[in-house]
């Protein structure tokens, strides 16, 4: 297991073609399967079919016997991964949608997450959760479940917002000796493209300044980073310089980077796509106000989804989650004080 900082040691430059967020996830799995014989992947329709989103396309061809179709049994999928991890394997479990991981919750929070603390045996499993809303997906194919998993001890929860992070954080996740919930955002799967895969990256646990600024800080993660960036460039037309912090990892949270940003700007807006009660935005505001109370010049503000299930119809869906427009409005209002 690589320690902090070491995690990118052996990466070579990948071929420079345009690569999507989804392809980065596939590439990371390819590399993990290549580098480490203890890695295998378990999930529904992931073998010859290549997964509902094609995140494992061709992997079963390139790594025969190591990419295995599971029955529709999320509880057993995670239980099996835990058992394999006990014996030194590094399983990746693909949930077909994050939403179906509700079935596996018990194995995650009570079996995997308690293993190391209770028994001293490491439990290196990575659960890939295709997360977040897309138009028309409705209440059960759109959820963001990071708040649920982050609440429980013994789990690392990652929310990559970029192609590079999708790649490097997944690779690092697989190498970590702990259970990792890898929330990959479906809205970014095909939209987001970069020229190359990274050869270096921030380690897990560090947030990233996605855009520097000085008038206000937006702390966000996953797909909302891009809504925030859009809002920030819109506001820049009026001379506002908005700093956008991409959390990358929501457990642990890089409180220092956030406090550093708020120290510069004095204003904090937290944006998340998840439901409004609790969750990442509450945790961030709670930390900043507890640890950096004097840094704030104005009340912190938060934006989440509406407090209803995620609607199926695109009309409703776009009003349910925060967007660049809503973020921009919130920022303008906040900057008045």
């Amino acid at each position: 297991m690589a320690g902090p900082g070491l995690h990118l040691a052996h990466r070579r430059r990948e071929r420079p073609v345009s690569i999507t967020y989804l392809e980065a996830i596939r590439a990371a799995q390819h590399k993990a399967l290549t580098d480490d014989p203890s890695v295998f992947i378990y999930g529904q329709d992931i073998s010859t079919f290549g997964g509902a989103f094609k995140a494992t396309k061709n992997l079963s061809r390139d790594f025969p016997g190591r990419v295995i179709d599971s029955p529709i049994s999320e509880d057993a999928m995670v239980g099996l991964a835990v058992g394999a991890a006990i014996e030194g394997m590094r399983p990746i479990v693909e949930m077909q949608f994050a939403d179906f991981s509700s079935i596996a919750l018990n194995q995650v929070i009570n079996q995997a997450a308690t293993m190391f603390w209770r028994t001293g045996t490491a439990c290196p499993i990575t659960l890939r959760l295709p997360s977040g809303g897309t138009p028309g997906s409705g209440p059960f194919h759109s959820q963001s479940m990071e708040a649920i998993y982050s609440h429980y001890p013994g789990i690392i929860v990652l929310t990559p917002a970029t192609v590079g992070d999708a790649y490097s954080m997944l690779l690092e996740a697989i190498r970590l000796d702990d259970p990792v919930i890898f929330c990959e955002h479906k809205f970014l799967y095909y939209h987001l493209k970069e020229e190359t895969l990274p050869t270096e990256s921030l380690p897990i646990g560090k947030a990233r300044i996605a855009r520097p600024g000085k008038h206000a800080t937006v702390v966000t993660y996953s797909a909302m980073v891009h809504e925030a960036l859009r809002a920030a460039s819109e506001l820049s037309a009026d001379g506002w310089e908005i700093e956008v912090v991409d959390l990358r990892s929501v457990k642990p949270i890089d409180t220092d980077t956030i406090l550093g940003s708020v120290a510069r700007t004095g204003r904090l807006l937290c944006v998340g796509e998840a439901f409004p009660w609790g969750g990442v935005t509450a945790e961030i505001i709670s930390r900043v106000t507890s640890e950096g109370f004097h840094l704030l010049d104005a009340a912190p503000v938060r934006l989440n989804s509406k407090d209803t299930p995620i609607p199926y119809h695109p009309n409703l869906w776009s009003a349910h989650r925060p967007t660049a427009r809503v973020i921009g409005e919130a920022l303008r209002k906040m900057l008045k004080f």
């Binding site: 179709d69 049994s73 939403d99 179906f100 059960f140 989440n304 009309n315």
Partner: protein
């Protein structure tokens, strides 16, 4: 819309009437789904489209044999035929698929997730297996309320039998001896996953014994077998015989969804007896038995196409959901809804 069969006058099984009735529901379902598919490919449908092609006999026979108003029917993703046969208005699917604000889900949920729970048809959640226990509860309620003689039926696929939810619920039904009919449409695949990666027994009906319930194994493409078996299973459940597990062997004659070409389905399966198209088989049988004339068959076809077109045309003129009018209230206890800054 096709008429319902007149109530059977004798105790003898009214095969011809039931068969013709079922055929017309199957036809309606097929044509409606064809229309939806072409709307999907034209970009007019929001969300996923999952089709019942190849499963209409099994589904329609079940839906038709239940009594709306008394019984419960919890359909799954390939039960257009069963839904219509049970009594779902054609406008419900048309409106839901077309994103109308006037459908039963009002744009909040879509397509296969539609239902009218207070009218005996729960609106499925996506999590497979999860509806079985809900039907158990609807039957428990009837028992508490002294509403006797009701049956509750639900459909699942081969894949859903692997869920813990399915197991827990079937077992609960067995313990409570509930009048539950579980119809397993074994269409040989769960998405791309063949049954060999889903279970290891010969026949899923062999699970019945382990629950202490009655099991049936039938050719799901054979409409007569479907009609007779569901008739027996539903009657048995209604008469206090406890849960019934009916497994129909058939083939999904379409991709998993309209987005999927199903190219992983091997030709060998398509040439198996259970790979035949139940609608074709039923039509041939009708012709064979001379239960209807070619003219009648053609008239039904036209009737069905017309009702599909009418429903779709109506739904297309409907308003779409209005995000500005939406009050975002997830609680019936409106006074306990929080507004505020968090949202």
């Amino acid at each position: 819309m096709p008429p319902t069969a007149p109530a059977a006058p004798s105790t003898a099984f009214p095969l011809r009437e039931r068969f013709l009735d079922a055929y017309r529901w199957m036809l309606l379902s097929r044509r409606l789904e064809e229309k939806i598919t072409s709307l999907y490919h034209a970009g007019k449908i929001v969300g996923g489209v999952y089709l019942g092609k190849g499963q209409e006999a099994f589904s329609a026979a079940l839906g038709m044999t239940l009594v709306q108003g008394t019984d419960v029917f919890a359909p799954l993703i390939r039960d257009m035929a069963g839904r219509l046969a049970f009594g779902e208005a054609l406008l419900d699917p048309a409106r839901t698929y077309l994103g109308s604000a006037l459908g039963p889900m009002r744009g909040r949920d879509g397509n296969i997730h539609r239902g009218r729970p207070s009218q005996g048809m729960p609106a499925m959640i996506s999590h497979l297996g999860a509806m079985v226990s809900v039907v158990c509860g609807m039957l428990m309620a009837r028992r508490f309320q002294g509403r006797t003689g009701a049956v509750g039926a639900t459909c699942v696929g081969d894949g859903a039998t692997s869920t813990g939810a399915f197991h827990e619920a079937v077992n609960v039904a067995a313990v409570e001896k509930l009048p539950l009919v579980v119809a397993v449409a074994n269409n040989q695949f769960a998405y791309s996953t063949p049954t060999a990666s889903q279970y290891a027994c010969e026949d899923l009906a062999s699970r019945a014994e382990g629950y202490g319930i009655k099991g049936y194994s039938i050719d799901g493409t054979d409409l007569e077998a479907c009609l007779r078996t569901f008739d027996e299973a539903i009657r048995s459940a209604r008469d206090g015989g406890g849960p019934q597990l009916v497994v129909g062997k058939l083939l999904r004659l379409t991709g998993h969804g309209a987005h999927d070409d199903g190219s992983y389905v091997p030709d060998t399966l398509k040439h198996q007896p259970f790979g035949r198209d139940c609608l074709d088989l039923a039509r041939l049988r009708i012709i064979d038995e001379a239960w209807a004339s070619p003219l009648e068959l053609e008239a039904w076809e036209n009737e069905v196409i017309e009702s599909v077109q009418t429903a779709v045309a109506t739904a297309q003129k409907d308003p779409t959901p209005d995000p500005y009018g939406e009050k975002w209230q997830a609680l019936a206890s409106t006074w306990l809804i929080e507004g505020g800054s968090a949202q």
